[in-house]
Each structure stands twice: as structure tokens, then as C-alpha cells.
């Protein structure tokens, strides 16, 4: 169990499939929570915003990163924040920001600004993935 009250904020900068960073971050989150550490938020930046796409179609016998993020949120309340600017450029768009009816980001993924991430860092320890 955690001997101090460290909280972590994770930033994920790579897309699933083109890296294993999301998976490493998920292992980190689970092990942290199991030991009583808090995960302040997971922030998706650069190509990491692809994690938020609800359109990812994974074979039933393959690990489903999107589903794993949803479960982390549902079971542990971890906030999943997506950098709006980085996301829009890469075609990662919530219903609110949709231009033509189509979108690919649903809650619990939330679109926020970079400032939200840096504000979290003032009270937690950052780990980059």
C-alpha cells in the first residue's frame, strides 16, 4: 500500500496499434490504484488522442484498448482528457465539435485544453507515455 499520498497524472502521446504506450499506461494505472495511489487524470496528447476514438474495431481475441479506458473510468473514476487542438487536427471529434453530424468521441472522454493538464501537474506527479 502507498506509504505517501502521491497522485499521478499521465500523458499519453502515442496512438494504439502504432505503439504499446496506452497499454503500458493502463498497467501503470491499475498497479497504482491497487496500491492506493490516485490517478489525477490521463491526458491524451499528440497521436495519443487516437485512444479516444469510439470507432476502433478490434478483433474479439485482441486486447481492446478503448474498452480498457472505459473500464478504468467506470471502475475507478479516472478522468480521461483529450487535448482538443491535437484531437481536431487528427480527426478526433466529439459530438459538440462535429461539423457534419459525424463524430468519434463520446464521454467519458472529455475534450479539454493543455492548461487543464498543466494545472493537474501542480498537485500530482507527471508520467509520460
Amino acid at each position: 500500500m502507498a506509504t505517501d499520498n502521491t497522485a499521478f497524472t499521465l500523458i499519453v502521446t502515442k496512438s494504439p496499434f502504432d505503439s504499446r504506450n496506452a497499454e503500458s499506461a493502463l498497467y501503470f494505472c491499475k498497479a497504482a490504484i491497487a496500491q492506493g495511489f490516485a490517478i489525477e487524470q490521463v491526458f491524451f496528447y499528440q497521436a495519443g488522442v487516437q485512444n479516444a476514438s469510439l470507432l476502433q474495431q478490434v478483433n474479439s481475441d485482441e486486447f481492446d484498448v478503448y474498452q480498457a479506458w472505459l473500464e478504468l473510468h467506470e471502475q475507478q473514476g479516472v478522468r480521461l482528457n483529450v487535448c482538443t487542438t491535437a484531437a481536431g487536427r487528427r480527426g478526433i471529434v466529439s459530438e459538440e465539435c462535429a461539423l457534419n453530424g459525424n463524430y468519434n468521441v463520446n464521454p467519458p472522454f472529455e475534450q479539454v485544453g493543455l492548461s487543464d493538464y498543466f494545472a493537474a501537474l501542480t498537485s500530482s506527479k507527471g508520467v509520460q507515455f
Binding site: R20, Y27, A31, Q128
Partner: protein, 86 residues
């Protein structure tokens, strides 16, 4: 200070490492293990157990393997944590 190395290129750590640095090898970082041990014999070097075994590397090597929980605990104790990727 902790360096998390995600890349197989050992030289990526050269700009950052000092005598007190702890190195944690993640993903392709495990392939850099031999080179880092040779070049920085005095540094504290770990590899993620999970990634090490996934890669199928030998276990008789002077690099300590970390469970996910040990990894997180290590991260809770040292600062800052620098992640080096390709």
C-alpha cells in the same frame, strides 16, 4: 530521477543520465539492457518484468525485473520521471 527508456537505442539516455539516475526499461527498452549495463555499470537499472518476458530475453542478467506495482512504487519515490521514446 528516473529515466523510462521505451527505445532499443541505448544512446538515447546519454544526454540525461547522471550517477544517481535510475533507469527503467519499458517495451523496446528491454533490448537496450546489455548496452546500458556495459556503458553505465554503476547505474541502477531495472526492466519491466512483463516486457522482459514478452520479449523472451534471458533471465540470467544483472538487471532487476520489476512487477507493475514495484514500478509504480519506484515512480512514487523519485522525481522527476523522464520518458525517452523513439
Amino acid at each position: 530521477m528516473i529515466i523510462q527508456l521505451f527505445s532499443s537505442q541505448a544512446s538515447k539516455i546519454d544526454d540525461y543520465i547522471n550517477a544517481q539516475t535510475i533507469v527503467v526499461l519499458i517495451q523496446d527498452g528491454v533490448y537496450a539492457c546489455k548496452n546500458i549495463l556495459n556503458q553505465y555499470p554503476d547505474c541502477e537499472i531495472y526492466a519491466l518484468d512483463r516486457d522482459w518476458h514478452a520479449a523472451g530475453l534471458e533471465t540470467n542478467i544483472a538487471c532487476q525485473l520489476l512487477s507493475d506495482q514495484e514500478w509504480v512504487l519506484l515512480c512514487s519515490k523519485h522525481s522527476p520521471i523522464i520518458s525517452l521514446q523513439d
